[in-house]
């Protein structure tokens, strides 16, 4: 056993010193390697972090939302549906929600207008999200106007700016009173945007949803789990698309690795020839090459991952954010909570280190089978 360890320690020793001797040759490979790991890593870390944020947000979402469909599109729902839904056994409560989007041509962004259910704001006063406040430079006690559906406009006083902690969900949010909301959108008091339903036993969610569909065929109930699934798959899909796009870069990298590994200089060839002449076996030379690859991979992978981590969690993934976050104009300005699990690192490993290793197997074998006699003669 000791002899075996001694042998591989010497091989590792030799590998390290030969790597250091050929700094220049390996440097360009290292840079590209680090870059590939960095790009793929950033995309994956960002996707996972966004999924996590979304699932945290959705934890507070209502168990079931009921929307009305008209001509295949979603439409305000009559308040009279509330009573019918409350009559279904298992339903604790059903409440109307009032919310909508309004376009602000000043900054070219959509705001989300919402009537809060727990606090009643006085008429003429609003609370705005941090994103709006920042972009429009409007703060507490300032005035802000909205265009009404009938073409006129109305001025509101900003009562407060919503605290930046909830910015991911409240960046574009405007809270206002029910009366003001109905006035802006000319929504009659007989209708609401949608309904939220609370259900006593979560196992009955699907049954209640079925009953709602039977009772009110023009509605669609949406269960919270479905929202979670949808968000998950949307973020996965985005991450997957970015990964597939980066596959091209990966392919180029693999070709580079192959080329680098096969382009042996005359010096290297002579070195291997001498090693074999003094008694090294083909498998030993292959081991040296394998260690070389391992060391390069280890170094590049570590550096790449650290850079990706810094990029995503300290610089909010400035390079990739537009592709991953969506198409809103008012981006929430938030620092993503650092979150990396071993699974992501493993996936990244399989996407980068494995192709690199495979690309170097054949060239290292080619290098290892050189005939000492012919190399030293030339």
């Amino acid at each position: 056993m000791a002899r075996w360890i001694e042998k591989y320690r010497s091989i590792l020793d030799f590998t390290l010193s030969s790597l250091v001797r050929r700094k220049g040759k390996n440097l360009s490979l290292l840079v590209v390697y680090v870059l590939v790991v960095f790009m793929l890593g950033s995309a994956m870390f960002l996707t996972e972090a966004m999924k996590r944020e979304a699932s945290l947000v959705l934890k507070g979402a209502p168990e079931m939302v009921i929307q009305r469909l008209l001509q295949g599109r979603y439409d305000p729902i009559p308040m009279s549906y509330l009573e019918k839904i409350r009559g279904i056994r298992g339903v604790i409560s059903a409440e109307p929600r009032l919310w909508g989007y309004i376009y602000d041509s000043a900054i070219g962004a959509n705001y989300t207008l919402m009537v809060p259910r727990n606090v009643a704001l006085p008429s003429g006063e609003i609370m705005i999200g941090n994103g709006i406040s920042r972009r429009r430079m409007i703060y507490s006690k300032d005035m802000m106007s909205f265009n009404l559906s009938n073409g006129s406009s109305r001025v509101f006083t900003v009562r407060d700016v919503i605290s930046p902690e909830s910015e991911l969900v409240s960046a574009d949010l405007v809270l206002l009173s029910e009366g003001d909301f109905r006035e802006i959108f000319e929504l009659p008091s007989t209708h609401a945007t949608d309904l939220v339903v609370k259900i006593r036993n979560p196992k009955e969610l699907v049954t209640v949803a079925k009953k709602v569909m039977e009772l009110l065929p023009d509605t669609r109930p949406i269960i919270r789990d479905e929202m979670v699934r949808t968000y998950d798959s949307v973020f996965d899909w985005r991450g997957g698309i970015v990964t597939v796009l980066l596959m091209m870069a990966l392919l180029a990298f693999v070709i580079l690795a192959w080329e680098k590994a096969s382009g042996l200089s005359a010096d290297e060839k002579r070195e291997i020839g001498i090693l074999k002449a003094i008694g090294w076996e083909t498998s030993d030379v292959i081991a040296v090459k394998a260690y070389e690859g391992l060391l390069i991979s280890f170094f590049s992978f570590t550096v790449g991952i650290l850079l990706a981590y810094g990029h995503v969690f300290f610089f909010s993934a400035a390079l990739f954010a537009p592709a991953m976050k969506g198409w809103s104009v008012l981006y929430p300005d938030f620092r993503i909570t650092p979150f990396v699990d071993p699974y992501q690192v493993a996936v990244l490993f399989f996407l980068t280190v494995v192709p690199y290793t495979v690309a170097t197997i054949v060239p290292s074998w080619r290098a290892a089978i050189v005939d000492p006699d012919s190399v030293m003669r030339s």
Binding site: V206, T230, A346
Partner: protein, 331 residues
């Protein structure tokens, strides 16, 4: 198909490992037809050199294969959110008919690749490569299985469709049937326990006989294979219950999660090491009469047997420690 970075990675890895084994098998045909150690021709020299490449390729294939087995399970686990009714990897694998076949093929291929490397190691140790034709014949069996695994795994991922909200209706998906089944059929705990301890005892007794007397190696190897199967059944039937402390959760995958301190990795690594080295003893049995192996083979087989026993002891030790350590009982 769900486009997830891990799925891309798994498809990529299976493409690579399949390509590598297929190449090995293709080369194996050449070996079986033209290998002649007595000849000093160019062709024979080229063949000899190329065997180094195949050994290296297969060593990497095994490493990647073990990694991809666990990555596959983790990916199934991380996707379970997107299917109605799936609570963990067990549910995700049930989403379409290819999930479990892909998983089982992956395990089979890990074991076979491990056995191939054992034969390869023994063969390379002898000066005249006595097993070379046999090991390349085995590679011809291995390659189609890797190909099958790749195809089944690709089909599994292609058939996956997340149950998401569409514009027509939200809960139609949820109400369509009851989603996928997360249950795994488990045999009664009492019967499984009896089988588990019996086969554990059997493996150890036979292992002891083999270690000290050098007899009954084939039987020991068979017992070690049996113990592997019984352990897998027992994991589902009762061992997992002690880890989860839930009398109804028969899942062999959740123990791989953080909540259970990733203990599953240790358990499965021990089991796989045990079965590969245990079966390795039996696979090498027929070659005991080969002249150039006579010196090294028995020693190597004994070492394998010891590795197998230590791995199984580790597995059983962890399982029993948990059973004793937890407050949970099976009544």
């Amino acid at each position: 198909m769900i486009l997830h970075p891990a799925i891309v990675a798994l498809l990529l890895v299976s493409l690579l490992t399949t390509g590598m084994t297929l190449y090995g098998a293709y080369f194996g045909i050449g070996i079986m037809r033209r290998w002649n150690l007595k000849s000093g021709s160019e062709g024979q020299l080229a063949l000899e050199r190329r065997t180094y490449l195949i050994s290296t390729l297969l060593a990497y294939v095994l490493i990647f294969q073990v990694g991809s087995l666990f990555l596959f399970v983790q990916t199934a686990e991380s996707l379970h959110n997107q299917f109605v009714g799936a609570m963990c990897a067990a549910g995700s694998l049930n989403v379409d008919p290819y999930g479990y076949p892909a998983f089982l093929l992956k395990i089979l291929n890990v074991i076979l690749a491990g056995l191939w490397l054992i034969i390869n190691h023994v063969d390379n140790g002898a000066h005249d490569y006595p097993l070379i034709k046999k090991k390349y014949a085995l590679l011809l069996v291995l390659a189609p299985l890797f190909l099958a695994e790749s195809v089944v795994q690709t089909l599994y991922f292609l058939e996956l469709k997340a149950d998401v909200i569409t514009s027509c209706c939200g809960s139609l998906f949820s109400s369509e049937g009851n989603g996928v089944s997360s249950d795994i059929a488990a045999i009664p705990a009492k019967a499984a326990m009896a089988g588990f301890y019996l086969s554990f005892g059997l493996t150890f007794v036979l292992g002891g006989i083999y270690w000290f007397k050098g007899k009954l190696g084939g039987l020991f190897s068979f017992a070690s294979g049996l113990f592997f199967l019984v352990s897998c059944i027992s994991l589902i039937s009762f061992i997992s219950l002690y880890f989860y402390e839930l009398p109804t959760h028969h899942c062999p995958f959740c123990i791989l999660q953080r909540e259970y301190h990733y203990i599953g990795y240790l358990l499965y690594a021990a089991l796989l090491t045990g079965v590969v080295s245990g079966l390795g003893v039996g696979v090498l049995m027929p070659f005991a009469g080969v002249g150039s192996l006579a010196g090294s083979l028995p020693l190597f087989q004994k070492r394998l047997a010891m590795v197998c026993l230590v791995a199984y002891l580790l597995f059983t030790g962890i399982a029993i420690c948990r059973m004793i350590g937890t407050d949970f009982t099976l009544g």
